[in-house]
C-alpha cells in the first residue's frame, strides 16, 4: 500500500507567552479588592493634586457665622458646607481634601526616606558582612524593641512637635523593616549562580550591588513600600492626634481629631469624617499592597 505515513506528529497549538507586565496585571486584576483600592487611590491622588480646584473653600478660613454647622443632609445643614464645619467655622470638606494632599505627601516622604535608607543599609549589610552586618542589624533590633508609637513620640519630644519632625520620626520607626527585607533579599540573591558569575567576571562591589542584585530584590520591597504607606499615614495621624505632629490649623486628618472628643454629643461629624478619611485611605493602600504581594508571589497563583 502506498501513501501511508508512518511517522505522525500532532501539531500542538502553542500560544505565545504573554509579556510579564500583562501577566502581572492579569494576576493583580483578579483581586477585586485590590482593584477597588487602586481606584480609590487614583481618586485620592486626583483630589490631592487638584485640591485648589476641587475644594470649595480654603481649609483654614474661619466662617464666624457658621460654627459647628451640621452636614448638608441633617437639619440645620448648609449647602455651602456639604460636610459641615468645625468648632471655629472651617469647612470640613475642604479640610479633608487638603488633608488628603498632606497625607499623601507624608506617606510618600516617609516611604521614600525609609525605603532608600533601608535599602542602602540592607544591601551594605549583606555585602559587607561580618562586623558591619552585625552592627547594622543590632541597630535595627534596638529600634524594633521600642513600640513604634512610643519611639516616634520620643523622637518628636526631642526634635519638637511639627509635621516635618513627625514625618522624620515615622520614617525612623519604619526603617528596620526595609533594612531587614533588603538584607534578606540580597543575601538570598548573593547565593545564586548569576551573582557568582558576575563576580568572577570581575564586577566591582558597588556595581554588583546596584546594577545586578538590586533589581531582583525589588518585588518584596515594593510590596513592603505600599504597605508602608498605610503604616506611615496611621502613625503620622496618631502623632497628630496626640498633638505631636502637624499643628493646627494645618488640616492633617489626625490633628483634626485631636480636640474632637469634646464634641461627641454636639457635633458628631467633626469626629467621624477625618477618621473615616484615614480609614478609607489606609484601607485602599492595604488592599493594593496585598494585591501586589499576591500578584508578585508565584506560589499563591492557582
Amino acid at each position: 500500500m502506498s501513501g501511508v505515513e508512518n511517522i505522525v506528529t500532532v501539531p500542538i497549538a502553542a500560544e505565545a507567552p504573554p509579556g510579564s507586565l500583562r501577566l502581572f496585571w492579569k494576576a493583580f486584576a483578579e483581586n477585586r479588592g485590590a482593584v477597588g483600592g487602586l481606584c480609590v487611590l487614583v481618586l485620592l491622588v486626583l483630589a490631592a493634586v487638584f485640591a485648589d480646584v476641587v475644594a470649595p473653600h480654603s481649609p483654614i478660613e474661619q466662617f464666624r457665622d457658621h460654627f459647628l454647622t451640621p452636614p448638608i443632609w441633617q437639619a440645620g445643614g448648609d449647602p455651602t458646607f456639604p460636610l459641615g464645619t468645625d468648632d471655629v467655622g472651617r469647612d470640613m470638606l475642604s479640610r479633608l481634601i487638603y488633608g488628603a494632599r498632606l497625607s499623601l505627601i507624608i506617606g510618600f516622604t516617609v516611604v521614600t526616606l525609609s525605603l532608600t535608607t533601608g535599602t542602602v543599609l540592607g544591601l551594605t549589610a549583606a555585602f559587607a558582612g561580618g562586623l558591619i552586618d552585625i552592627t547594622l542589624m543590632r541597630l535595627m533590633d534596638i529600634i524594633l524593641v521600642f513600640p513604634s508609637l512610643l519611639l516616634a513620640i520620643v523622637i518628636v519630644a526631642i526634635l519638637g512637635p511639627s509635621l516635618f519632625n513627625a514625618t522624620f520620626a515615622v520614617a525612623v520607626v519604619l526603617l528596620p523593616g526595609y533594612t531587614r527585607l533588603a538584607r534578606a533579599s540580597a543575601l538570598s540573591e548573593l547565593a545564586r549562580d548569576y551573582v557568582v558569575a558576575t563576580r568572577s567576571a570581575g564586577a566591582g562591589r558597588f556595581r554588583l550591588m546596584f546594577d545586578t542584585v538590586l533589581p531582583n530584590c525589588m518585588a518584596p520591597l515594593i510590596v513592603q513600600a505600599s504597605l508602608g504607606f498605610s503604616g506611615a499615614i496611621l502613625d503620622a495621624a496618631a502623632l497628630g492626634f496626640l498633638g505631636l505632629g502637624a499643628q493646627p490649623p494645618t488640616p492633617e486628618w489626625g490633628t483634626m481629631l485631636a480636640g474632637a472628643l469634646q464634641f461627641y454629643q454636639r457635633a458628631w461629624w467633626v469626629l467621624t469624617f477625618p477618621g473615616l478619611a484615614i480609614l478609607i485611605t489606609v484601607l485602599a493602600f492595604n488592599l493594593v499592597g496585598d494585591g501586589l504581594r499576591d500578584a508578585l508571589d508565584p506560589k499563591l497563583r492557582r
Binding site: V4, E5, N6, I7, V8, V10, I12, A13
Partner: protein, 333 residues
C-alpha cells in the same frame, strides 16, 4: 467476585485552563492475597486513580465510576462518615514521601495508636502493646523506646516502616502502596519491598503496588496493569507480560530496562514526553511517541480489547514476537 472491583473510573479536574481528565476508563480488580502492580511514568495518573478509590480527591476534582465495590459494598453510595469506617481500616494506603507524610508535631507511637483508637480496633488499654507489636512487625529495633520519637528524629527508611505499621494497624484487607520506595536509599528500598511482600503474605492482604520501576514489578507482582496518560493500556499476569508484552508502550518500557539491553551500545529510550493538559493528542494518546503509529491511530482512539494473556489498548497489539498485528507496514524502530 474480586475483593476490590472498579469499573470505568474517571477523575476530572476543573482547572483555570479547562477541564482536565487525569484518569479515564480505568478498570481494576484485586483479589485477596493478590499483588497487583500499577506501572507508569510520572503523569500517568496511577496515583490519582488510587487516591480516588480512597476518597482523597478533593474539589476541584470530580470522581466518577460505574462500579466501585469493596467486598461487595458499594463505595460510591456511602456517606462520608460511612466511608471513613472503611478507609484507614479495611483499605489503607502508604505514601511516597515518608519524611513529609508523618505529622511533625506528634510522636510516632501516638500517630500509629490513633488509627487503633479512632477505629476502635483494640481496647484502649491494649493500644500501647499493640503499637509496640506493630513496630516490631515492621522491623523497627527496640520498638518500645521509639514510641515517643518524633518523625524528624527517624531516618527515611524508619519513617516508611512507621507508615506501614500505621497502615496495617487495623488489619486492612487491601493495602495500597504508592511508590513506597522511590524516596528512599537504594539499599533500603529492597528491605521495604521485602517487608511489604512478607506482610502481604502473612496477613493475606491484597496489595496494590504503584511503581515506575519494572524491576520491582518483576519481583513482586502477580498481575500488572500498565497506565499511560490516565488510561490503562495493558493488563496481564506478570510472567506473560514480561515474556510477551501486548502494547508498544509496555514493550518500550521493557526495552529500556538495563537488564534487557544485551550488547547494545545505547539504551533505547522513548522519545517525547507524557502529554499534559495542553497537548492531548487526538486518537490514541501514545501515538505521537509510538514507532508503529498509523493515520488510523491518529483518527480513532483504541478501546481496551481482550488479547492473548490479558487486555491491550492498541489497534495493532503486539504478537509473541513483538510485531504489531494487522499492521500494513512494519517500521524499523
Amino acid at each position: 467476585m474480586a475483593l476490590l472491583e472498579i469499573r470505568n473510573l474517571a477523575v476530572e479536574f476543573a482547572t483555570a485552563r479547562g477541564r482536565f481528565r487525569a484518569v479515564e476508563g480505568i478498570d481494576i480488580d484485586v483479589d485477596e492475597s493478590e499483588v497487583l502492580c500499577i506501572v507508569g511514568e510520572s503523569g500517568s495518573g496511577k496515583s490519582v486513580a488510587m487516591l480516588a478509590v480512597m476518597g482523597l480527591i478533593a474539589f476541584p476534582g470530580r470522581v466518577t465510576a460505574d462500579v466501585m465495590r469493596f467486598g461487595g459494598t458499594d463505595l460510591l453510595g456511602l456517606s462520608p462518615r460511612q466511608r471513613r469506617h472503611v478507609v484507614g481500616k479495611d483499605i489503607a494506603m502508604v505514601f511516597q514521601e515518608p519524611m513529609t507524610s508523618l505529622n511533625p508535631c506528634y510522636p510516632v507511637g501516638w500517630q500509629i495508636g490513633e488509627a487503633l483508637r479512632v477505629h476502635r480496633a483494640v481496647p484502649r488499654r491494649k493500644v500501647r502493646a499493640r503499637v509496640v507489636q506493630l513496630l516490631e512487625q515492621v522491623g523497627i529495633p527496640s520498638p518500645a523506646t521509639r514510641l515517643r520519637a518524633f518523625p524528624h528524629q527517624l531516618s527515611g527508611g524508619m519513617n516508611q516502616r512507621v507508615m506501614i505499621a500505621m497502615a496495617i494497624a487495623c488489619n486492612p484487607r487491601v493495602l495500597i502502596a504508592d511508590e513506597p520506595t522511590t524516596a528512599l536509599d537504594v539499599t533500603i528500598q529492597k528491605q521495604i519491598l521485602d517487608l511489604l511482600v512478607a506482610l502481604q503474605r502473612e496477613h493475606r492482604m491484597a496489595l496494590v503496588l504503584i511503581t515506575h520501576d519494572m524491576g520491582v514489578v518483576a519481583e513482586t507482582a502477580h498481575r500488572v496493569q500498565v497506565m499511560y496518560a490516565g488510561q490503562t493500556v495493558e493488563t496481564q499476569a506478570t510472567d506473560s507480560l514480561f515474556a510477551a508484552p501486548r502494547h508498544p508502550y509496555t514493550a518500550a518500557l521493557l526495552d529500556a530496562l538495563p537488564e534487557r539491553a544485551r550488547g547494545r551500545a545505547r539504551l533505547p529510550t522513548i522519545p517525547g514526553v507524557v502529554p499534559g493538559i495542553d497537548d492531548r493528542p487526538s486518537g490514541c494518546l501514545f501515538q505521537p511517541r509510538c514507532a508503529f503509529a498509523t493515520p488510523h491511530c491518529v483518527a480513532v482512539r483504541p478501546a481496551l480489547a481482550e488479547v492473548p494473556g490479558g487486555r491491550s489498548r492498541c489497534h495493532y497489539w503486539l504478537d509473541d514476537a513483538g510485531h504489531p498485528t494487522g499492521h500494513d507496514r512494519a517500521v524499523a524502530a
